[in-house]
């Protein structure tokens, strides 16, 4: 075992966005461990300056290609909060379907394309297509296609939703289309089960590592919270003052990252599928709970590598919940509704949504003409950066006897487990535009 080595991963692969890992070891002691985000800053707050209330969601959707539905919904909720716009029950139901579509899209992409190659010891999903795993990959592709087509149907497009607008939907699916979707969701359940079994067979590739940390997510009394809920922490419990979310997120700038870091009760906290599972697992649909049992996943689980499994559990939940939501929609009778009429006024609004990678917050202030004069967005991945750094600091000494190559892989896997969406690491501060 060499006493001096370095691990430098520049532009970590199979994550969304650009991040670097730096590890320097001298004489067996760690000199430097650093997780840094090197994505070019994109200054989204400047993009919102002077834009009208109905254009904000289209711009903020472009923060991230993977969680564009989540950004759109957080943006709409913030805008509607600021303008006191109420939305219909049908819109509520459809938006929940939209969140599920994205959760499914993003989770299966992460499980199948980004994380699975590590479990199977390959560099990407491509060689798997020419291996004995081809069938598995095609199953994953099938699920991914279903999630994408669900997004097409509800949102009008796979990426960057079109139909989600202030006050409702610019277009809704027909009864026939929803029935077809429901049928396909039901048919996909055995496929999900197969994928779960295959994942279970390679589950021993998931590193056994634990570090106690704080988990933050939305919670609700009525359901497994994704679209609607109150802030909740495993350390400090529920926090109802959603307009004062900053008390929870406390952001700060670090020199190695263009992304901001956050902390609450400890040096760091975690958001995302595992955080939601740890806080709300009782409200999962029974089938999703069964999937969790397969992997012996129980709250509170402190192994960040299990985030990938929590995603699989949520994928199952999203399928069952979508089937149920479609029933509700069809019982009510789906109809074309004009979006709620907006009366332009000044005000501040905050929108909180649970997106695949965790808690997302948009916070806008509008002037009396409905133009944005102040904006702030808190991105899930930003909330996880500090936690990734803390995990690395605890993890490296535990694996210091492995080869640099192995260490590098484990560190990469750790970051990938968080499924970071680094493109999102743009940031808005509270800035008042003149």
């Amino acid at each position: 075992m060499t006493k001096d080595f370095s691990v430098h991963v520049e532009h970590l692969t199979r994550v969304e966005g650009h991040g670097n890992i730096t590890l320097d070891v001298k004489n067996g002691t760690i000199e430097k461990i650093q997780w840094s985000v090197v994505e070019a800053p994109r200054f989204f707050e400047a993009m919102l300056r002077g834009q009208q209330y109905n254009e904000l969601r289209a711009i903020t959707s472009r923060i991230c290609g993977i969680c564009s539905i989540g950004h759109s919904l957080a943006s709409l909720k913030a805008t509607e909060d600021a303008l006191n716009v109420s939305i219909s029950e049908q819109t509520q139901l459809l938006r929940r379907l939209a969140i599920h579509a994205e959760n499914m899209q993003s989770h299966i992409l992460h499980i199948g394309y980004l994380a699975a190659p590590d479990f199977l010891g390959v560099g990407s999903v491509f060689p798997l297509l020419a291996s004995k795993h081809k069938e598995t990959v095609l199953k994953i592709v099938k699920l991914h296609r279903l999630a994408n087509e669900m997004s097409d149907l509800i949102c009008g497009r796979t990426i960057h939703p079109i139909r989600l607008v202030v006050g409702g939907f610019s277009m809704v699916p027909t009864k026939k289309q929803l029935l077809t979707l429901q049928k396909r969701l039901k048919e996909s359940k055995p496929v999900v089960h197969d994928v779960a079994k295959i994942l279970l067979s390679v589950a021993d590739a998931i590193p056994q590592f634990t570090r106690e940390t704080e988990y933050i997510a939305l919670s609700s009394d009525d359901e497994y919270a994704l679209y609607e809920g109150v802030l909740n922490s495993t350390d400090t419990g529920r926090f109802h003052e959603y307009h004062n979310y900053q008390l929870l997120t406390n952001e700060y700038v670090v020199p190695q990252s263009t992304a901001k870091y956050t902390k609450h009760n400890r040096a760091s906290y975690m958001v995302g599928a595992l955080a939601r599972f740890n806080l709300n697992s009782k409200q999962l649909h029974p089938w999703a709970q069964d999937v969790a049992k397969m992997f012996n996943l129980k709250p509170i689980n402190y192994n960040p590598f299990m985030n990938t499994i929590a995603q699989l559990v949520e994928f199952a939940h999203s399928i069952d919940d979508s089937i149920q939501l479609i029933d509700t929609l069809l019982d009510r009778g789906i109809k074309e509704e004009k979006p709620t009429k907006v009366v332009v006024k000044s005000g501040r609004g905050v929108g909180l949504v649970e997106v695949p990678r965790g808690l997302l917050i948009h916070d806008y202030t509008l002037n009396s003409k409905g133009y944005c004069i102040k904006a702030n967005c808190i991105i899930p991945t930003n909330q996880n950066h500090a936690n990734i750094q803390q995990d690395m600091e605890k993890l490296v000494p535990e694996i210091i006897n492995k080869t640099p190559k192995e260490i590098e892989l484990i560190l990469e896997m750790l970051v990938r487990a968080y499924d970071p969406c680094i493109s999102c690491s743009t940031h808005y501060l509270d800035v008042t535009f003149k």
Binding site: A40, R163, V253
Partner: protein, 253 residues
């Protein structure tokens, strides 16, 4: 030795949605792998090679360090394709060009000490062709998968891809949509490059101009339309800022 063109995919400042659109080809990825060799694609693969024929570049160029990387990519590639609005026209990243970089920097990072840090050394946003020559464009935010397929198959066959030069209205009419102007909205369809199958108007939302303008917004005919529908030029100007800040019509790109 395979004769398949070697393709590398790179990303700069963007949301990576256009690369994701490639992943979203689903089963057709198998076909794609049949006709090209993907040698680098950071978003989905670990392997990387600097030997490629076609570079597909996504994202806008923000910093000197990014320009350097892009020029290196250009030196390696026989053909360079700009992928998606951020790369083809600067996209939403150009909205901030209304202000000086220092101003924007202060807005976002406040008084944090970032001076002298290369990561934070930001110029005005540039589209790819403002830094290096671009051979072909795949427009859109996000790109349209069929158009991506069209361009890739054309390049694999040694053809010149055919990208529409006419406005979105053409495709919108073929889709038999109720015109959004009739519905009291304003839409950039009449002056935006088609090729997206008029996806936004078809889903009931106005065109935002993400494929670039085929006509300047400051033309007599646009004024005429605005006047007829009681719209202000301010509305159109703001809407053009979303994707086309500081750009005249894109002409023959």
């Amino acid at each position: 030795m395979s004769t398949k063109p070697r393709v590398a995919v790179f990303d700069f400042a963007d949301c990576e949605g256009c690369e994701l659109q490639i992943a979203n080809l689903e089963e057709e990825i198998l076909d794609l792998l049949e006709i090209v060799d993907i040698v680098s694609f950071r978003e989905v693969m670990k392997e990387h090679s600097d030997e490629y024929d076609i570079a597909i570049v996504e994202g806008s160029i923000m910093r000197p360090m990014d320009e350097k990387r892009l020029k290196y990519i250009r030196s390696k590639a026989k053909i360079l394709v700009a992928l998606g609005a951020c790369a083809t026209i600067g996209g939403v990243n150009k909205i901030r060009n209304q202000w000086m970089p220092e101003e924007v920097m202060k807005d976002v990072y406040g008084n944090a000490k970032v001076k002298g840090n290369e990561l934070f050394n930001v110029n005005k946003t540039k589209a790819v062709n403002e830094v290096v020559p671009v051979d072909y464009y795949i427009h859109g935010c996000p790109i349209d998968r069929d158009e991506f397929k069209h361009v890739i198959t054309a390049l694999a066959l040694g053809k010149k891809p055919e990208i529409p030069t006419y406005p979105v209205c053409v495709e919108c009419k073929k889709n038999e949509n109720v015109c959004l102007f009739e519905r009291g909205m304003y839409c950039l369809g009449p002056i935006t490059r088609a090729g997206c199958k008029a996806i936004c108007p078809t889903n009931g939302s106005p065109c935002e101009g993400c494929r670039g303008l085929v006509k300047k917004a400051e033309t007599e005919c646009v004024w005429e339309v605005l006047e007829r529908y009681n719209l202000s030029y301010e509305d159109i100007r703001r809407r053009c800022t979303m994707y086309n800040y500081g750009r005249a019509e894109c002409g023959a790109q």
